[in-house]
């Protein structure tokens, strides 16, 4: 079982979600997962699928071909990137004519898609390759005092036919990984609903209403935090929480943590090491609860 991966950062994480990257690198290093930086990578292609499917295919295939040159499988932190690379890998492996057409675009820069690497998102690597046992044994400070909720987001699960990971209607992986930290993971209404992020820039009104719904449902079950695994979902809830509170006269104060921040706390890392200071919604109450225990 390989524990060495090429890390595909995508665009959103280096652009504005560094806490996710910082905390993910910390926990992966503690779990003996080696990360190799991916040279010359480009946008996975997903944001441009709506305007040009062909452009998306070429961009994704270029990334896959670059990884094939390195001979390493890919790990991503963004479910959108993971989904796109998985989907395009499958499409091009199955459709010879399309593969030849796309390879024609890559030829001039000396690249060729062959279909020899796989892509996994962080939580898939944690569950399938690192394994629950190893994660549990790395927990030195069980977070048994915490009750949190999870938000998977769409692209880690859908479309099912291409992603082939967990059950989109009743996903269990993230819940299980949260419970490995000792925390309780609460069920709530419409858990698998979209955060609204892809509608930002097209209609912020629709996007923020979707995020508000989610925060309302999370608040209803008294979750102390919402745990995300996607940079876009995180922006929707964390960066926009205050905006939503203002717009709809709501009060939430629910901190939104990247999963590796939660796991990192349980592994004994400090909030500083896990970049808690980058969160917009203050998490000091939750951290105090962790320190005081019970």
């Amino acid at each position: 079982m390989s524990s060495k991966y090429l890390i595909f950062l995508g665009c959103a994480i280096p652009y504005r979600v560094s806490a996710f990257e910082i905390s993910a690198r910390k926990i992966l290093s503690k779990l003996d997962v080696e990360l190799v930086e991916m040279p010359e990578f480009n946008c996975c292609g997903l944001p441009l699928d709506p305007v040009s499917h062909e452009m998306m295919l070429i961009l994704a295939a270029r990334n896959l071909a670059l990884a094939e040159q390195q001979g390493l499988n890919i790990i991503t932190l963004c479910p959108g990137c993971a989904g796109t690379l998985k989907k395009v890998n499958k499409i091009l492996k199955e459709d010879k004519m399309l593969r030849e057409q796309i390879n024609g675009h890559l030829k001039e820069s000396g690249l060729e898609f062959k279909g020899t690497v796989t892509t996994k998102h962080l939580i898939q690597v944690l569950m399938e390759d690192v394994g629950l046992e190893k994660i549990k044994s790395a927990v030195v400070r069980p977070l048994t005092m915490l009750k949190v909720a999870e938000h998977n987001g769409c692209h880690i699960l859908r479309p099912k036919e291409y992603i082939g990971f967990d059950d989109p209607e009743d996903p269990q992986t993230l819940k299980t990984l949260i419970e490995a930290t000792g925390a309780t993971c609460l069920d709530y209404m419409d858990e698998t609903e979209c955060c609204g992020a892809p509608s930002v820039g097209v209609s912020d009104k629709v996007a923020l209403q979707l995020a508000r719904d989610k925060l309302n449902h999370v608040k209803m079950v008294d979750a102390e935090a919402l745990i995300t695994i996607c940079p876009f979902c995180h922006i929707m809830y964390d960066t926009n929480e205050l905006r939503i509170e203002k717009m709809f006269s709501e009060v939430y104060g629910i901190p939104i943590l990247h999963y590796p921040q939660l796991l990192g706390l349980a592994m004994g890392l400090t909030p500083e090491e896990l970049a808690f200071n980058e969160l917009r919604v203050n998490a000091s109450k939750l951290l105090k609860h962790v320190t005081e225990g019970a």
Binding site: N42, P47, M55, L59, H105, G201
Partner: protein, 182 residues
């Protein structure tokens, strides 16, 4: 608030036979993603499970599918509502007829984009990819800050190679044309 799209009331004018393109559905059936368009029997699962339809007065995936089947090509391609889909793929996963609704919407958007009907945000992202390889313009300050927070340097992109790879892609070439004259 960013509203690059102001969804208008859907066009409810009576349909004139002159606006129907009877071959449109066959054209769509030959494009990857919308092959199963004709299997839709209008059950409405897509619309009732659509998170966007819950808050939008105009976005209804079932309606878009029906309009495509009827051949109302221009009405669809000129409509702003087409751009409201969040691509969550719930409709695709739950469609009892396996229509891949979200992919049909993507095919329609691609056709609209070829005609130039596309919200600004997508043009900006495409321009950014051609310029830097990334969909967003990552500020220098962010790139420099990585070191101070213990992150490895951001791998340098190769926009020149990307532009080479995108040669012949109509949308990319249009964006490239718009980028050049300064």
């Amino acid at each position: 608030m960013t509203e690059t799209v102001t969804p208008k009331e859907p066009n409810r004018e009576p349909i004139k036979s002159s606006e129907i393109d009877p071959k449109f559905k066959y054209e769509l059936s030959r494009i990857h993603g919308s092959e199963k368009l004709l299997k839709c029997f209008q059950c409405g699962t897509c619309t009732s499970d659509c998170p966007v339809a819950r808050y939008s007065d105009s976005y209804r995936p079932r309606q878009i599918i029906r309009m495509a089947q009827l051949g109302l090509k221009d009405r669809i391609l000129n409509s702003d509502t087409l751009w409201l889909c969040a691509a969550c793929f719930t409709c695709t996963d739950r469609c009892p007829q396996d229509v891949e609704v979200a992919s049909v919407i993507r095919v329609l958007r691609n056709l609209a984009a070829e005609k130039g009907c596309v919200p600004l945000v997508f043009k900006e992202q495409a321009a950014s990819v051609l310029e830097s390889g990334y969909a967003y313009k990552i500020p220098e300050l962010r790139i420099k800050k990585r070191e101070t927070v213990g992150l490895p340097p951001l791998p340098k992109g190769n926009p020149e190679n990307i532009r080479k790879a995108l040669k012949g892609v109509k949308f990319a070439e249009n964006i490239e044309k718009g980028r050049e004259p300064k």
